[in-house]
Amino acid sequence: MEESISLATPNPTLTSGKQKIALALAGLGVLLLLVVWAAGNAFAPVPVLSASLGLICAGVWLFVREEYLTRPEGIKNNGVWFKSLSARGIWGWLAAIIITGFYTVLYFFPENWLTGLTALFSPVSQGLRGKPADKWFVYGSLYTLSVLVLGVKFMYKYRHNRYQLIRTVSVMFFQTGFSFLIPAFLQVMNEPEYYFTYFWPLKDYYGSPGAVQYYGHATSLSVYFIAFSALMTFVGTPVLTYFFGKRWYCSWVCGCGGLAETAGDPFRHLSDKSLNAWKIERWMIHSVLVAVVLLTGLLWLNSWQQGGVLGKFSQAYSTAYGYVLGMAFSGVVGVGFYPLMGSRVWCRFGCPQAAILGIFQKKKSKFRITANGGQCISCGNCSTYCEMGIDVRHYAQRGQDVVRASCVGCGICAAVCPRGVLRLEGAGSDIDQRTEQLRTVHIRLEDVKILS
């Protein structure tokens, strides 16, 4: 191959030899999990699990050191459109198939399809909760592990950016504490399992009469759990979104967001930026919101009428909602499609919590992304790396502040901007005029006539 003297060399070395070894180590760890899964037997759980997790952690660690610490700090997205894994190549498709397959088995197959993995994680479960692992414990452990390990990777990548560092510590903390450890400890203390960082409508069950009935009486404490959820749904959500925008939840607290921001980071550029995708997104996400409101309304109506109104129908509807949205969409597609459609497929097209937060963010919130005067050079990095598929550049070019219902406030657009044009911030004095100013457009379309 002839050596190119172009600055943007067409034949870049994307993955060094050391990195290939590191990836092989991590791959070996994953392979070990797959072997245990396929064999349906953990053999010796403690050594095998330690070996597998050790290999994964060591592999990722070595890869990260080589990828980021050998170069000056600053965002490194070199070659994302050329690497097989992050550019929908063979490895990308393979990853999508493996993750989708895992989720399908997890949600739709009987528990005994995962006996190898549950046996593997049982010692951990015994230690934490005093009982053997079930498939949900396995899932929770792998999920938390992904957020932690790949969260550390993310922090090395963005180590010069304090907003990103603090935000990532936050998602790692909420995932580990509130979605993994606290639910486990609650069980040790004979309290019902509860997730304090999920509320109605994302966790549709917490808004149902069944949950109110159950948590209202389960233990002397559990009534406060369900009361906390209700408070977050009706007071916490609008108030926090008024002050901070949607990000207080979507990119700082939420577990789905946590995985998207860490494990999903290498795929963020794969989100569709087209106008059509935006249209589909608005139809879909608001339809899901309507569906969940209907679901909860029906359940309450039925409970009030003692099953007199549409009793069988509401049961079937509830089951269907759980299968189609709770399992197939948020789980299988939501994570399985990371390497194909970017990291926020569920958050963007399906999550009813995101829909509500988005409405508040758009209508009544201090939050916006400010465009700094006339500084945009139209490079398009902001749009490329927006995981929600927002065409940020469209706004930045005209010096218009960005107020979009879907924006989760991850701050990556501001971080990848080579001219420091974008800033996430808030002010209360101009909420209804946030997007009115077009700083760099002096001539309106009405002022000119196209020559025929």
């Binding site: 600053g74 002010a427 002022d447 000119v448």
Partner: protein, 200 residues
């Protein structure tokens, strides 16, 4: 043609209805303090907008032509991983009648320079490495000829760095106090509400 394609203040060449814009252009009468050839991205963009207006609007008679007015000089770039911004008039050699306040972060990757008129104290320009300042705020200070001491006390208005980034404005005020024996205090920290009130 001279060193560039010569155009008038409407970006029209000597041939009627033929316009030029961008790096190829040499202005016959540049604004005071500006060069006839300014081949940078931002001037190119502003010329493009002006030329498009004058072609689409003025030639067709829908609108009177617009003069090319790039306003107060600004530019930005990125050198390796260090961002650079400039607002206003910052010369390579400091003119006799100007004074400068230069602050540098101990880490060596951030610096802020404020140039001002020695006699009147009017602020003339900002030069920033590794720190982001707000374009409109700096622009307004320079356009108004705001005294450097007022700028320093309000300096937080200009800060455009991301949230949780350290704010160095009080260090600049302290530096100025050390150099001049004054005892100014930073009255305004970073915050959008105050910026909106200032720009209104």
């Amino acid at each position: 043609m001279n060193r560039g394609i010569l155009v008038d203040e409407y970006l029209q060449t000597n041939i009627p209805d033929v316009f030029a814009a961008g790096d190829c252009v040499e202005l016959r009468q540049p604004n005071a303090g500006r060069r006839a050839i300014e081949a940078i991205w931002y001037t190119g963009r502003m010329m493009g907008e002006t030329a498009a207006n004058n072609i689409l609007g003025a030639v067709s008679g829908a609108k009177s032509p617009v003069r090319y007015n790039p306003g107060i000089w600004f530019n930005s770039a990125k050198f390796f991983d260090i961002e650079y911004q400039v607002y206003g008039d910052i010369r390579a050699q400091l003119p006799e009648d100007q004074a400068t306040l230069y602050w540098e972060h101990p880490g060596g990757k951030k610096s802020i320079r404020l140039n001002y008129d020695k006699a009147s104290g009017r602020i003339l320009g900002f030069n920033l490495m590794g720190v982001r300042y707000r374009h409109e705020v700096c622009d307004k200070w320079i356009a108004r000829g705001t005294p450097v001491e007022e700028v320093l006390q309000q300096l937080g208005l200009a800060n455009f760095d991301p949230e949780f980034y350290p704010q160095h404005e009080s260090e600049l005020v302290a530096l100025y106090n050390r150099q001049t024996g004054k005892s100014l205090k930073l009255k305004q920290k970073r915050g959008l509400d105050a910026v909106l009130a200032f720009l209104r």
